[in-house]
C-alpha cells in the first residue's frame, strides 16, 4: 500500500532561488493495482518517486509505504521497496549473477536465499542464457530484464518504476510491461511513471496527470476520458496540461513550455 499526503519538494537554486519541484501531491495505491504518474519531462514524476524511494527527503508532507512513514523510518521503507529508473545502468564489469548477488547482500539476504531466489527468477525472467555473462556484453533488452530481476530479488511488496521502458525498443518495452502486469497479478503495489500514453492506458488502474509538480487530474483511464468529454488519453493529457499553460499566460507569467 502506498499513501502519499501533501508531498512537497523544493530545491534551492543559487540564481533562481527556491524552485517547487513537487507541490502538495496526494494519492493512494492499493496492493494488486498499478498507479500511473503521467507527465512530461520535468513535470515532477522522478522527484515524487525519489521521495517515495527515500532517495530524496520531502520538504513537507509525507508518504507511507506499507504503513511506514518515509520521513520517520526510511531504512524500513527501503526494505519494502524495489526501485527502478529508466536511465539506471548496471555495473558493466560484473556478471549478471554477481550483480544480483551484490544487491541481494545489500538487501540483507543470506547467501542461500540469494542463490535460491536467483534460481527461481532466472526461469521467470528468462535469464539463464546470459546470467553468467558480463553486463557490459549484454544487449539492452537483457540488461532491462536483469534490472527488473534486481528490483524484485528481495521480494518487496511495493515496486516503484520510473519510466522503465525508456530507451527500449518495442519488443523490450512490451516485455517490461508484461513483467509489470505479472507482478501486479501477484499482488504487488506498483507505481509507474511514464510519458507514453499507450503504456499508461495498458497497465494503469489509476492515473494522475502531473505538471509543474502538481497533480492536475486523477482517476481511472475511463473516468479521465469521461471528464474530458471523450477522446483518447492523449487528448485528455494535452487538454489538461494546455489548460495550465493558458492560465499562466492569462496571469501574464512567462511561457515555460
Amino acid at each position: 500500500m502506498i499513501e502519499v499526503l501533501d508531498l512537497c519538494k523544493t530545491f534551492h537554486d543559487r540564481k533562481k532561488g527556491d524552485i517547487a519541484a513537487v507541490s502538495n501531491v496526494s494519492f493512494t495505491c492499493s496492493p494488486g493495482r498499478v498507479f500511473g504518474l503521467l507527465g512530461r519531462n520535468g513535470a515532477g514524476k522522478t522527484t515524487t518517486l525519489r521521495m517515495l524511494a527515500t532517495i530524496l527527503y520531502p520538504t513537507s508532507g509525507t508518504a507511507r509505504i506499507d504503513g511506514i512513514d518515509v520521513n520517520e523510518n526510511p531504512g524500513e521503507v527501503r526494505k519494502r521497496i524495489g526501485y527502478l529508473s529508466g536511465d539506471t545502468k548496471l555495473y558493466d564489469r560484473l556478471t549478471g549473477r554477481e550483480l544480483l548477488t551484490y544487491f541481494g547482500e545489500l538487501a540483507g539476504m543470506s547467501p542461500a536465499s540469494i542463490a535460491g531466489r536467483i534460481a527461481e527468477l532466472q526461469v521467470s525472467f528468462q535469464l539463464a542464457d546470459f546470467l553468467d555473462k558480463r553486463v557490459g556484453r549484454m544487449s539492452t533488452g537483457m540488461k532491462q530484464r536483469l534490472s527488473l530481476c534486481r528490483v524484485v530479488l528481495h521480494d518487496p511488496p511495493v515496486l516503484i518504476f520510473d519510466e522503465p521502458t525508456s530507451g527500449l525498443d518495442v519488443m523490450g518495452a512490451r516485455e517490461v510491461l508484461r513483467i509489470v502486469l505479472d507482478l501486479k497479478s501477484k499482488g504487488r503495489t506498483i507505481i509507474f511513471s511514464t510519458h507514453i500514453m499507450t503504456e499508461a492506458e495498458r497497465i494503469c488502474d489509476e492515473i494522475a496527470i502531473i505538471e509543474r509538480g502538481s497533480i492536475l487530474a486523477k482517476g481511472s483511464v475511463d473516468s479521465l476520458r469521461q471528464s474530458n468529454g471523450g477522446g483518447s488519453l492523449e487528448d485528455v493529457f494535452v487538454s489538461t496540461v494546455d489548460k495550465v499553460f493558458r492560465e499562466e499566460a492569462a496571469r501574464g507569467e512567462p511561457v515555460r513550455p
Binding site: 530545491f11 534551492h12 525519489r50 524511494a53 527515500t54 532517495i55 530524496l56 527527503y57 531504512g75 524500513e76 527501503r78 526494505k79 521497496i81 526501485y83 527502478l84 529508473s85 536511465d87 539506471t88 545502468k89 548496471l90 555495473y91 544487491f103 545489500l106 538487501a107 540483507g108 534486481r150
Partner: protein, 397 residues
C-alpha cells in the same frame, strides 16, 4: 577541405578552453605548478645548506701535532669539535666522530725529502652529518695544504710557488650498503607516496562519481544498506588498492635493486645497492596504512562531491599534486625533523619511513605520525559519509 579542418579545429579549441581540465593542464600547471615545484626545490636546497652549516660535527684528528697551525684553525671554525685519535679508526661510528683527518706520521721528514705523502679526510657521503663535516673542513684542508707547501719551501729554501703539489684528499668511506641505505631512505618514501596516491585515485573516483555518471547511485541509495556502510565499503576497497599499490611498490623496488641488480653484474658493480630488510619492509607497509586510509577517505569524499567523472578526476589530480609537493617537502630534512612535520599527513609518513629505513625511529615521531594520520583519516571518513547522505551534494547539477 582546409576550411572544414579549420572549423573542426576551432570547435575543438573552443570546447577545450571551456573545460577546466584543459585550462589547468595548459595554463595553471606550467605557470604555477612547475615553477612552484622548482621554487620549492630551491628553497629545500638552500634550507638544507643552511642546516648543514649550523650542524655540530666531531672531527677526529690523527697526527695533528705535526702541523701546529691546524688545530687552532679547526677550533676557530664554528660547529666543529676536534678529538685527538692515535690512529685511523676502522670506522667512524666506533670512534664517535663524523670525519677523520689523517696526517701520516713523519710528514715533517717526508716532505723535505720530497717523498710522496697523502693527507686524507675520511668521511661518509651517505651520512648527512659526515657530509656536512666534509664541507665544513674544506677550508681546513686548504690550511693543511698551505702548511705543507711552506714546510717544503723552507726545507728547500725555494719559493712557495715552486713547491710540488701536495696530495690533500677527501675520501668517501661509505660502504655500498650504507650508500644503498642512504639512497633508499631518500627515494623510497617519495616513490611510495606517489604509488599509494596513484593507487587510490582511479577507484575512489570510479566508486563514487562513477556511480553518479552510470546512474547506478539511485539504485544503491534505494537499498536498505545504511549510507555509512556504503561509504565504508567503498573506502575499504580503495584502501585495499592503495595497500596493494604500496606492497607491489615495495616488492618492485626490492626486486629491482636486490634481485635484478644481482643478476646483472655490470649493473651490480656500478649501481648503489638499495637494500630493504624484511622488518623494514613490514614496518613501512604498516606506515602506509593510515596514509592509505586518509587518502582513500579524502578521495571518496571528493568523489561524492564531484558532479562528473571529469570533475572527480580533476579533484583527484589536485590531491595527487598535493601528495607530490608533500613528498618533495620530505627532502627538507637533515638530521631529526621537527615534531610538527609529523603532524602533516603524507609528509609524516614519508618522514617516518625515512626513519625506519635509517634505523633512527623516534617512538614519539611514530606515535604522532600514525595518530595524526588516523585522526585526519577519521575526519575525512565522517565528511565522506555526510556528503554521501546529503542529497543536495549527490544530486547537484
Amino acid at each position: 577541405m582546409r576550411s572544414r579542418a579549420w572549423s573542426v579545429c576551432r570547435k575543438e579549441l573552443r570546447d577545450a578552453l571551456r573545460d577546466s581540465r584543459t585550462i589547468i593542464a595548459v595554463f595553471v600547471v606550467p605557470l604555477v605548478l612547475y615553477p612552484g615545484i622548482m621554487l620549492l626545490m630551491g628553497w629545500i636546497e638552500s634550507q638544507n645548506k643552511k642546516d648543514e652549516g649550523a650542524m655540530q660535527v666531531r672531527v677526529g684528528l690523527v697526527g695533528e701535532a705535526q702541523l701546529p697551525g691546524l688545530v687552532p684553525a679547526l677550533k676557530s671554525m664554528e660547529g666543529v669539535t676536534t678529538v685527538s685519535l692515535d690512529r685511523v679508526p676502522p670506522n667512524l661510528e666506533s670512534a664517535g666522530v663524523d670525519a677523520v683527518l689523517s696526517i701520516p706520521p713523519g710528514i715533517a721528514q717526508s716532505i723535505p725529502r720530497g717523498d710522496s705523502v697523502k693527507v686524507e679526510l675520511l668521511y661518509k657521503d651517505a651520512d648527512h652529518k659526515s657530509s656536512a663535516a666534509e664541507k665544513k673542513l674544506r677550508p681546513a684542508l686548504d690550511e693543511v695544504r698551505r702548511e705543507l707547501t711552506v714546510l717544503w719551501a723552507r726545507s728547500h729554501g725555494a719559493p712557495v710557488a715552486q713547491a710540488p703539489a701536495v696530495a690533500v684528499e677527501t675520501r668517501d668511506v661509505s660502504s655500498k650498503a650504507e650508500e644503498g641505505r642512504f639512497m633508499a631512505a631518500f627515494i623510497i618514501p617519495y616513490i611510495l607516496v606517489f604509488m599509494v596516491a596513484a593507487g587510490t585515485m582511479h577507484l575512489a573516483i570510479d566508486a563514487t562519481t562513477g556511480e553518479k555518471e552510470r546512474s547506478t547511485l539511485e539504485t544503491l541509495l534505494a537499498t536498505s544498506t545504511p549510507r555509512r556502510d556504503l561509504v565504508l565499503g567503498k573506502v575499504l576497497a580503495v584502501i585495499a588498492t592503495a595497500l596493494a599499490a604500496g606492497l607491489v611498490g615495495i616488492f618492485g623496488l626490492w626486486f629491482n635493486f636486490t634481485v635484478l641488480a644481482g643478476l646483472m653484474p655490470a649493473l651490480s658493480s656500478q649501481s648503489v645497492q638499495l637494500t630493504i630488510r624484511p622488518d623494514q619492509a613490514f614496518f613501512i607497509l604498516l606506515t602506509i596504512l593510515p596514509t592509505a586510509i586518509f587518502l582513500s577517505a579524502a578521495l571518496v569524499a571528493l568523489g561524492c562531491f564531484a558532479r562528473s567523472m571529469r570533475e572527480g578526476q580533476t579533484y583527484a589530480t589536485y590531491v595527487y599534486m598535493a601528495a607530490v609537493v608533500l613528498g618533495l617537502i620530505s627532502f627538507r630534512q637533515l638530521g631529526a625533523p621537527p615534531m610538527e612535520r609529523f603532524m602533516i599527513p603524507i609528509l609524516n609518513t614519508a618522514l617516518l619511513q625515512r626513519e625506519i629505513l635509517t634505523d633512527t625511529v623516534v617512538p614519539m615521531h611514530a606515535a604522532v605520525a600514525l595518530g595524526m594520520s588516523a585522526v585526519v583519516a577519521a575526519i575525512m571518513f565522517v565528511i565522506a559519509t555526510r556528503l554521501f547522505s546529503n542529497e543536495s551534494v549527490l544530486f547537484r547539477t
